[in-house]
Every structure is written in structure tokens, then in C-alpha cells.
């Protein structure tokens, strides 16, 4: 396209176009189609009022033809120069100005700074002409953010425009309100917005609701007293307004379900009416009655129905209806179906609905469309939480998705697998994940998948060997992406073993770790985090089992320090490891002779620029010079997990201090008691007061004459001004609260206060608000604040969990049969994990049934301690003791504090990626994780007597299990995969094992 084409475009006949094309060679053939279209459009005048000048078209064209980014930048920069010059000329006609602004917007969209023109855009919104005003609003919403300095110039205009008679002006202003009003300026426009909720035009009502919703998102407390308006608008005559109201209600309900339970009936009846096509035809979309409204309603119902049997029962009929009526051939029909599945999996389970949901899922998975497969996998992930057996029918489909070239689908499938992982299939799944992790470049996702691998490995590892190997693989391929905490966890795990007094197993674990690390050190370019782990383990346990000599290990450590000489952390780890090895040697009474390379390394470190390295090197030197007894108390062998007691009060210095004071020294004054500090904090207080009294006031000043009247007028005047709002005193109340503290502060702020006082009088109305109402609404605010915080996640999901658990009770017998007939051995595990799932959620009745059992657990736990320590020997089928390994802590918790357990379970299930929450329990969650790892492994062979009463057949299962092991490792063939992954029913939340089993 060239400069002339614009003119050509106006000629109506396309033959003319073609002629010009042939005569002028500079048309590129590729652009012909576009040219035709634009020509046709321009002739038809579809430009409407959005007319653009030739210059703008030229600009767009030349940018379109730019062959490189540099060329484009050059064009844009020269355009900016032109605009800068032109825009500041005096007396630019409005139309011209409007076009400049559009060009500015365009330039900024291309990534260039157009800030020089912001002020002109702001000026434009003051214009009377709607045309110009709208352009101005468009530009400012795109240019400015809510905290921009220029906003203050806009607020006044917005206020005026919101009161305009022309609803299009109001709409334009509302649009700007959404984008440009921040917490501080909300009070300035809130009264008008509330008034607009009753505007005769439905488009305005709709947008006013959205604006309020936006305020709620930005600052919930600012509109908390207006929430009732959303309920009112739900009954609006216009279905569009009702539909729009669902957006804020969805947010409100997400934050606080319980206050909206009364709306269940209304929502259900609305949904029913929509599904029965009672809405005007105009709301149909692809033959579906108002599908977008249906989707929103289903989302809301899912929230309201979760963990509420009574509410859910109201929904069954209508959801069932929609399942039947949905047209699964159209995209939007499937969207509604998917939403139904989500709803069914969230509300209190109903067998019939679950069946329809399963049907819909299988339709999704069998479809050719990748979109539907994706939704199917997602829906499957939701549904297996409550009816685990449906995964089995879809094994093949799931594996197909896993091998699909579509990355999105693959990731979704990995997410599903992650949810279905348990001890029998963990090896296959984690192997798959690691393979996939190696194949991608996206660091974000790599990190996520690595942390998932780590989490699964920690929970379900069938053997120590496997665990160490898996961790090695993860570190090798994604070492630098893994959170350093994971490395620390690994070290702690190796140091502490698996939380039991089973030294043989622990030392086996350690020596296998040492062995594998020595092997891995041969590879080039290891990630820093991994090297740190390696150094630490080698230092701590390198010589522990006597297999390797100290000189061999120290040689390896020196190699590491030399090979990665630019990584200070690794070097520091290596030096400390060296120190430990030498210390253990000395403590064991052996003679220490340093290798020559070690000597040279030390010399280098003693003169290192890094003080940390230097200190470590000096410490090493000092330790080597000490005698065996001293060394042993400095660096005892295998004591990394023991607590070091620190006397924070420094009581051992008491004598010394006493002595000094007696000699006339000044006693120590704590920082807080020193006088200087007092002053500083005072200043800070003053600052604060000043800041708080600098509130902005957005209401226009009334004429001075009216002051007197305004002071007197009856309260009715105020109330007529703000008609529809029941609680119309929000803006002032915030001022009052801000001005109050300033009264007590120093001179600067009194001045301010005085001025505000004057203003207050002049504004009149404000003084008439009774103080009680203020206090009322503030208390309301705080209440809302609180409910928001705690209502959202914990309570909600906790209760939901209990529902899952009840469901589990209902379906477990048939599921057992099915699983047993299909998959023999492993089905036991499934069943067990199912029951584990069940009882791990201590809903009230669960706890009752739990109590006697867990006392049994404690008893059996005692016996297990006395068992020979070969519990950890997974490879051999000799483990036939029925005593499950238990973590005493967890049991006690289960008995005494069911609530903490719930919350931890919830934590685990909700945030998958977080391995261990760094809470108070931090220290021994490690232990429990380890213990659990062991448990789940044994579990696969043994049933847990107290929980399931299925003591029989333990040994046979173990055999089945061990014969399965090598199979899995050897072949990743599809059918093996099917067996492995399909056998998943209840494992959707493997963490829950931990709660009953330790």
C-alpha cells in the first residue's frame, strides 16, 4: 500500500482498483485482498464517526511496510517529533487534536513513550462535544494509571459527566471510572455511581454495577455498605443487568459464602428460567439460551453448594436439566457442560449427576478437538476427587493426551497425573515428569514440574535408592531452578533418615547417597545447588561407612573446589566438608595427612578475597592442629540434626559484667530506653498525623452565601440529594475519621485542621450526620474486613473436604470390587488410600470413629519400635510384620488436635506446588515426610489393621508388589502405563495418607 491507495479506496468499483493495481507495480500482490476490503469499507462509509485523516493512514501504512524493527522505530520516532511540534501549536481545531491523540495512542501501543501528550488528552475530556470527549476518555484510560498525577484533573470532569443527561457521556465517564479511580478518589464519585444504579437506561445500570464491582475489587471496605445494591440489581427487569450483577456477586460469594446462602433459591430459579428459554431470544447464542449467564450462575452455585447438602439438594434438578439440554455439538454448549461438571464436582455429591458428569467427560476425552480434550482432562482432575473410579475408564485417553504434541494438553495431563499419584505408580509418573522436564526450555514450568517431582518423590518413594536417584536427576537437570529449600530438605532427609530409630536403613541410605554422588561428580557442569548438596553429604558421611578413605574423599572435594572455582558457595561447602572429614579422622585417632592439592587449595583460600572462605580456611587450619578430644566436641560425627543451644541472655558473661560494674563501668541501657530514640519515634508520629490529615476533598465548594443556610438545613435535604442509597454518608465519615487524630497533633497539623474546619462549615451537609451512623458504618467495615480474610479459603475448603470424605464412604464398596477385579494386587492399596482419605478428614463423625482406632495405633506403634530394623529394606519381601510404621507425632495430633490436621491437609491439597509449609511444624514435618515416605511404601504391601481390618493377604500382596517393581522400571510400554496410571482411584490426594498412617 502506498500513499495513493487511500484516495483509490474511495472509488467504489473494484475494477477501478484492479486497474490501478495493474498500472502501478508497487502494489504488492499479497496486500491486494486487504486493499480491496479496506477500499470497500471506506466507500461504504463504515468509518462512521471514527474518521481518520490521511496522515494517520499514511503512518499506519508506513509502519506496516517497515521491514525491520529498527525501521519501524525510526518511523515512529519521527512521528513523535511531528506530533510534539504540532500538538503544542496554539488553536488547533478539535478534530485535528482528536486525531493527534489517536495517533499518540497508536504510538504508545507500539511501545514508545507518548507522555508529552497526556496533558492534551486530559484537556480533551473537558470538551463539550461527545466525539472529542470520548476520544479523550479513551486516551486517558489507555495512558494513565490510577495513581498518575494527572488524575486529579480528571476527577472533577468525571463527576460532572456522571451527572450528564446524555447517557453516552455517562457511559464514557463510567468507563474511565473503572480504570482511573483509586482508593483515595472512590469517595468522590461513589454517590453518583450509586445514583446511576437506578438509571433508566439498562446499559448505564450495567456499567454502574461494574464500576461498583471494580471499587469492591480495589478497596472492599469502601463499598462494603453498598453490597445490598448488588442483591437488588439481581432482580432488575433487564436480564442483561441481572447477568452483569452476577460478576460482583461471584466475587462476593467467593469471599464469604455463608452470607449468601439465602440466594441459592433465587439463583436456582433464575438458572431454571434461563435454561427453559424464558429470556428474550436476543440472549440466545448459537441456539443456547444465554449461555454466558448460565456459566456464571453455575459457577456461583458451585461455590454456594460446596459443603452444604441442603443448598446442593436445591440445585440437583436444574443442573440435571442443563446436562440434558446442553447441545454438545457447539463450543458454547460444551462450555456450559464443563461448567456443570465443575459444579457437580463441587457441590454435595449426587450419584445421578456424577454419572452424567462422567458421561460428559468421556465425550470430551473421546472428541477430536484438543480444546475438548483439555477440558476433559481438567474436568477429570476435578471429578476423581469424589469418584476416583472414573479415571480407570479413561486410562487410554489420558495416555494419548500425555503423548500429544500439544504442549498445553500435555501439561494439563501432567497436572492430572500429579493428582493421581500414589505409591504404586509414582515411579512411572515421576520418570515421565523428569523426561518431560528435560525436553522443555520454559524455566517457569521447569521449576514447577521439578518441585512437583520432589514433592511426589518425598511422599511416595518406594525405596531410598530410587529416591536418591530421582533427586539426583531433578537436581542435575533443573538444579539451578529448584528452590534452595529443596536442597536443604534433601540434606536434612539424608541426615535424619526417615524419622525412625532405624540406623541400618539410615546408614544404608547415606552410603547409597555417597556412592551415587561420587559417581555423579565425574560429570561436567553440575548446578551449584546440587554441588552444595554433594559437598555437604560427602563431608558428613563420605567416610562414615569406611568404604572410602579420607584421602579419596578429600581428593574429590578438592577437585570440586578447583573445577568450580568461580562459585564461592560451592567452595565454601567444599572447605567445610574437608574440615569435617579431617575432624572425623582426628577424632577416630587416625593420623591426618593433607593431600598436596588440598594444601595448595588452603593456601589459596587463606588469601581469598571472600572473608567467608578465608574464615573457613583458617578454621580448618585451627581444627587440624587440635587434639582428638577437642575436635570431637567441636565437630561431633553425624550430629548435624542435633540442636545447638544458644544462651541468648548471655548469662555466662554475668560474672564478667558484675566485675566491670563493681569497677565503676556504666550499666547497659537497652535501646528502647535510650532518650534519643524516644524523640525519633515522636517525630515519626507527627509525620503520620500530618500525612493522615492531608485528605483530598472532591466535592465542589458551594457558594459562600449558602454557607449559613447549609449549616441550618434539615436532614431531609441531605437525604433527598442521595436518593437511592440507604447509607449515604460514606465520604464524610472518612474525612471525620481522618481529621480527628490531627486535632491532637502539633502546630503544623492544627493549621491544617483549622482550614479543614472552615471547609466543613461551608460544606454544610456534613455536620448534620449523626455521629452514631459514622460509628455504625465503620464497625461494619471492620466486620467485613475480617470475614473476608478468614471466610474465603480455610473454612470453605475445609468443609468441602468433609464432603468428599462422606462421599468416599458411600462409594467405597463398589469401587473396591471394581478395582480388585481389574487390577488385583494394587487394588488393596487403592482401597486403603481411599479409606485413608476418608478418615483423614476429621469431620465430626469421623473423629468419633477415629478415636478408638488411633489408640490402637499407638499400641501397635510401640510394638513396631521393637521390630528388627529391617522395615526399610524394601527390596526383599521379608517384611511381613503387620505393624505399620507410624509417626508418633502425627498420631498424637490426630487424637488431640484434629483441627490442625485438617488445616494441614487442606494446605496440601490446595497448593500443590508448595512442598512443605515453613510453619512452626517445619522442623518435624520433615520427619513426618520421611516417615510417610516409608509408610506409603510398606502400605503398598501391607494393610493397616486398625484402619481397614484387612489384615489378610499381606504377604501375597507384597509379592505382587515386588514382582511388579522391575516390570515398571523396565518397560514404559503403553499397556504397562495403563496399568500403572489407571490404577489410581483414590490417590488424588496422596498427602492424606500421612494423617492417619503417620
Amino acid at each position: 500500500m502506498d500513499a495513493k491507495s487511500y484516495a483509490i479506496c474511495f472509488k467504489p468499483s473494484s475494477s477501478a482498483l484492479k486497474r490501478s493495481n495493474t498500472t502501478r507495480n508497487w502494489y504488492r500482490v499479497a496486500k491486494l485482498e486487504q486493499l480491496k476490503t479496506i477500499g470497500r469499507e471506506l466507500t461504504k462509509g463504515s468509518q462512521g464517526g471514527f474518521y481518520q485523516s490521511k496522515e494517520f493512514l499514511d503512518l499506519v501504512k508506513s509502519i506496516g511496510e517497515a521491514r525491520s524493527k529498527a525501521e519501524e522505530d525510526r518511523i515512529v520516532l519521527s512521528e513523535i517529533e511531528t506530533l510534539k511540534r504540532r500538538i503544542s501549536e496554539p488553536d488547533i481545531p478539535k478534530r485535528k487534536m482528536k486525531e493527534y491523540i489517536i495517533r499518540l495512542v497508536y504510538v504508545e501501543m507500539l511501545g514508545h513513550d507518548a507522555s508529552f501528550g497526556y496533558i492534551h488528552a486530559v484537556k480533551m475530556i473537558h470538551d463539550d462535544s461527545l466525539l472529542v470527549k470520548r476520544t479523550g476518555y479513551l486516551a486517558v484510560t489507555l495512558f494513565l494509571n490510577e495513581d498518575h498525577d494527572l488524575i486529579i484533573l480528571i476527577v472533577n470532569t468525571i463527576q460532572k459527566d456522571l451527572k450528564s443527561d446524555n447517557y453516552l457521556v455517562v457511559c464514557a465517564a463510567l468507563n474511565a471510572v473503572c480504570k482511573l479511580i483509586n482508593e483515595e478518589t472512590i469517595p468522590a464519585v461513589l454517590p453518583q455511581i450509586v445514583e446511576l444504579l437506578a438509571h433508566p437506561k439498562e446499559a448505564v445500570r450495567k456499567k454502574a454495577i461494574m464500576a461498583l464491582h471494580r471499587f469492591y475489587q480495589k478497596s472492599p471496605s469502601s463499598v462494603s455498605h453498598l453490597v445490598s445494591n448488588f442483591r437488588k440489581r439481581l432482580c432488575d427487569n433487564d436480564p442483561g443487568v441481572m447477568g452483569a450483577t452476577l460478576c460482583p456477586l461471584f466475587d462476593l460469594i467467593t469471599n464469604d459464602v455463608n452470607s449468601y446462602k439465602d440466594l441459592v433459591i433465587s439463583f436456582v430459579s433464575i438458572l431454571k428460567q434461563v435454561a427453559e428459554r424464558r429470556l428474550p431470544k436476543a440472549y440466545d447464542y448459537h441456539q443456547m439460551p444465554a449461555p454466558f449467564i448460565q456459566i456464571k450462575l453455575l459457577k456461583i452455585l458451585a461455590l454456594l453448594g460446596s459443603s452444604d447438602k441442603q443448598a446442593s439438594e436445591n440445585m440437583y434438578t436444574v443442573v440435571g436439566d442443563i446436562f440434558r439440554k446442553c447441545d454438545s455439538s457447539s463450543n458454547i454448549g460444551n462450555a456450559v457442560l464443563y461448567e456443570c461438571i465443575c459444579c457437580v464436582s463441587s457441590i454435595y455429591p449426587n450419584p445421578k449427576l456424577l454419572e452424567s458428569a462422567a458421561d460428559a467427560i468421556s465425550r470430551f476425552l473421546k472428541s477430536d478437538s484438543h480444546n475438548l480434550k483439555y477440558m476433559g482432562i481438567d474436568a477429570l482432575g476435578r471429578l476423581i476427587k469424589i469418584s476416583p473410579e472414573i479415571a480407570e475408564q479413561h486410562q487410554l485417553a489420558v495416555i494419548d493426551c500425555l503423548e500429544d504434541p500439544d504442549d498445553t494438553l500435555k501439561r494439563k495431563t501432567f497436572e492430572l497425573l500429579y493428582k493421581m499419584t500414589k505409591s504404586t505408580n509414582v515411579e512411572v509418573i515421576v520418570d515421565r515428569m523428569i523426561d518431560y522436564m528435560n525436553s522443555i526450555n520454559d524455566n517457569h514450568y521447569k521449576t514447577e514440574i521439578a518441585s512437583r517431582c520432589v514433592e511426589l518423590a518425598e511422599q511416595f518413594a518406594p525405596s531410598n535408592q530410587w529416591f536418591i536417584q530421582t533427586m539426583n536427576k531433578v537436581f542435575e537437570h533443573a538444579g539451578d531452578l529448584v528452590n534452595i529449600k529443596v536442597a536443604h530438605n534433601l540434606m536434612r532427609l539424608i541426615a535424619e533418615g526417615f524419622g525412625e530409630d532405624d540406623d541400618t536403613a539410615d546408614s544404608q541410605l547415606r552410603s547409597s547417597a555417597v556412592e551415587s554422588y561420587l559417581h555423579i561428580l565425574g560429570e561436567p557442569k553440575l548446578p551449584s545447588v546440587f554441588l552444595q548438596v554433594i559437598c555437604w553429604v560427602l563431608g558428613e558421611y563420605g567416610t562414615a561407612d569406611g568404604k572410602y578413605s579420607a584421602s579419596y574423599i578429600t581428593g574429590k572435594l578438592c577437585d570440586v573446589a578447583e573445577a568450580y572455582s568461580n562459585d564461592e558457595t560451592v567452595k565454601a561447602y567444599a572447605v567445610t566438608a574437608l574440615m569435617k572429614i579431617y575432624a572425623f579422622e582426628i577424632a577416630a585417632g587416625r593420623k591426618v595427612d593433607m593431600l598436596p592439592e588440598c594444601h595448595s587449595l588452603m593456601e589459596e583460600f587463606l588469601a581469598s578475597h571472600s572473608t567467608d572462605l578465608q574464615q573457613r580456611a583458617y578454621e580448618l587450619q585451627a581444627v587440624i592442629g587440635l587434639d582428638a578430644h577437642a575436635v570431637e566436641s567441636i565437630l561431633p560425627s553425624d550430629a548435624s540434626c542435633e540442636d545447638i543451644e544458644v544462651d541468648k541472655a548471655l548469662s555466662f558473661l554475668n560474672d564478667y559484667i558484675q566485675e566491670a560494674i563493681e569497677k565503676g563501668a556504666q550499666p547497659y541501657i537497652p535501646e528502647s530506653e535510650r532518650t534519643g530514640m524516644l524523640n525519633i519515634s515522636n517525630f515519626r508520629n507527627q509525620d503520620h498525623h500530618e500525612a493522615s490529615s492531608h485528605g483530598l476533598r472532591f466535592e465542589a465548594y458551594e457558594l459562600p452565601k449558602q454557607t449559613v443556610q447549609a449549616r441550618i438545613p434539615p436532614a431531609s435535604l441531605a437525604s433527598t440529594e442521595l436518593v437511592p442509597v440507604p447509607e449515604p454518608m460514606y465520604p464524610r465519615e472518612s474525612y471525620q475519621t481522618t481529621t480527628v487524630p490531627s486535632v491532637s497533633s502539633d502546630a503544623a497539623s492544627t493549621e491544617l485542621k483549622l482550614r479543614l474546619d472552615g471547609v466543613q462549615k461551608r460544606w454544610g451537609r456534613q455536620t448534620h450526620f449523626p455521629s452514631t451512623s459514622t460509628s455504625n458504618s465503620t464497625s461494619l467495615k471492620t466486620v467485613n474486613g475480617i470475614t473476608q480474610v478468614d471466610g474465603s479459603n480455610t473454612a470453605n475448603s475445609r468443609t468441602r473436604e468433609t464432603y468428599d470424605s462422606r462421599k468416599q464412604v458411600e462409594i467405597s464398596p463398589e469401587k473396591q470390587k471394581l478395582a480388585a477385579s481389574l487390577f488385583g494386587g494394587p487394588s488393596k492399596t487403592e482401597k486403603k488410600s481411599a479409606t485413608g482419605h476418608k478418615s483423614s478428614k476429621p469431620s465430626s463423625h469421623m473423629v468419633k470413629s477415629h478415636a478408638p482406632k488411633s489408640s490402637m495405633e499407638v499400641a501397635s506403634e510401640k510394638t513396631s519400635v521393637q521390630q528388627p530394623p529391617d522395615l526399610l529394606d524394601f527390596g526383599e519381601p521379608t517384611v511381613k510384620s503387620t505393624a505399620p510404621s507410624l509417626d508418633p507425632f502425627k498420631d498424637l495430633e490426630g487424637l488431640l488436635e484434629p483441627t490442625t490436621q485438617v488445616s494441614s491437609a487442606v494446605n496440601h491439597s490446595s497448593t500443590a506446588a508448595v512442598t512443605k509449609s515453613p510453619d512452626i511444624m517445619g522442623l518435624y514435618t520433615e520427619t513426618t515426610a520421611g516417615a510417610h515416605h516409608k509408610d506409603s511404601d510398606i502400605l503398598s504391601g501391607l494393610s493397616n489393621p486398625p484402619m481397614t481390618n484387612m489384615v489378610g493377604g499381606t504377604t501375597t500382596m507384597q509379592v505382587a508388589q515386588s514382582s511388579k517393581g522391575p516390570n515398571l522400571k523396565d518397560s514404559l510400554e503403553k499397556d504397562a502405563l495403563v496399568r500403572q496410571m489407571g490404577v489410581t482411584p483414590s490417590s488424588q490426594n496422596p498427602n492424606l495418607f500421612k494423617d492417619i498412617l503417620g
Binding site: 471514527f50 513513550d113 442483561g240 447464542y285 456459566i295 463450543n331 462450555a335 464443563y338 484438543h370 501439561r411
Partner: protein
Amino acid sequence: MIKAVMVMNTQGKSRLAKFYEYLSVEKQQELIRGVFSVLCSRAENVSNFIDAESIFGQDSRLVYKHFATLYFVFVFDSSENELAVLDLIQVFVETLDKCFQNVCELDIVFNYSKIHTILDEMVFGGQVVETSSSEIMKAVEEISKCFLSPFLLSCVKMHVDDVRFSTFALFLI
């Protein structure tokens, strides 16, 4: 909530970018580039959904649709349904098509502010307010009409000697 709407062509040039949370110009460009690099590596016949967490942060999904030379991209969070957003793109494009009869890339470039108007009627403050393309059309036409009256006047004043303008004006009415 919808976080962003973008239209870009197959060469990665952005044709429309609207972010419902404020982002600096540099950040916007970075995101646009990020989205494009993912989009252009997608094969044909794969799903229209992309996990966008690596570009837009926690809890963000991306749905795109490829029309001729353009990608239409919506970024949103978990409160929306992917398939429904796919249809929302459909509605958007259908509306554009109604507006411009047989819409093409150039229509979007040249009618920059009109596209914004259409989008504003559909998505308001990050929430979907209207999903019927005929309703959107009505609203946009209403706005155009208001624009017209002053514009037509100016046309008349300009001594209608050119055929182009008369044709133009006729169609506008």
C-alpha cells in the same frame, strides 16, 4: 476477570492491546512479545489454550484464536471458563465482521478507536458485560450517530463538490 485483550498479526505486530490492570508501556511490550513468541511456536490443530503463568504470573490463562493474519488473544484468570472465552473471541470477531463487512487486518488498524469502542461495550473493567453481537452493534451505532451530526455538518460546509464525499455521507446516513 479478564486481564488483557490483544490483537496481533502473524508477524508479531500488535494491532490492539488493552490491559485491564495498569502496566507500564515497557511491561506491556514485554508481555506482547512474550505472548507472540509462544503463539508463533504453536502448531496448527492444537488447542486454543495456553498456560500463561510464565508470562502473566499466577492464575492466568490465555485463550487465542487465529483468523487469517491475526491472532486474537484474551488473558484471564480462573473465574472465567476457557471455552466460553473462546466464544467471546468469536463474538468479538463476529461483531467486527458486522461492523466492517468482512473484516480484515487493515480495518482494525485504520479504525483503531472504533475497535476500542466495540471492545468497551463487550468487556467493561475486566468483566464481560455484553455477549450479543447485535446488542454491541446497536450500542456502537448509537455512539456513531452522535458523532455523525457534527461531522455531517462539516461535510456539508465543505462545499460538496467531490463525489467521494457525497457517497460517503449517503452511506453514513
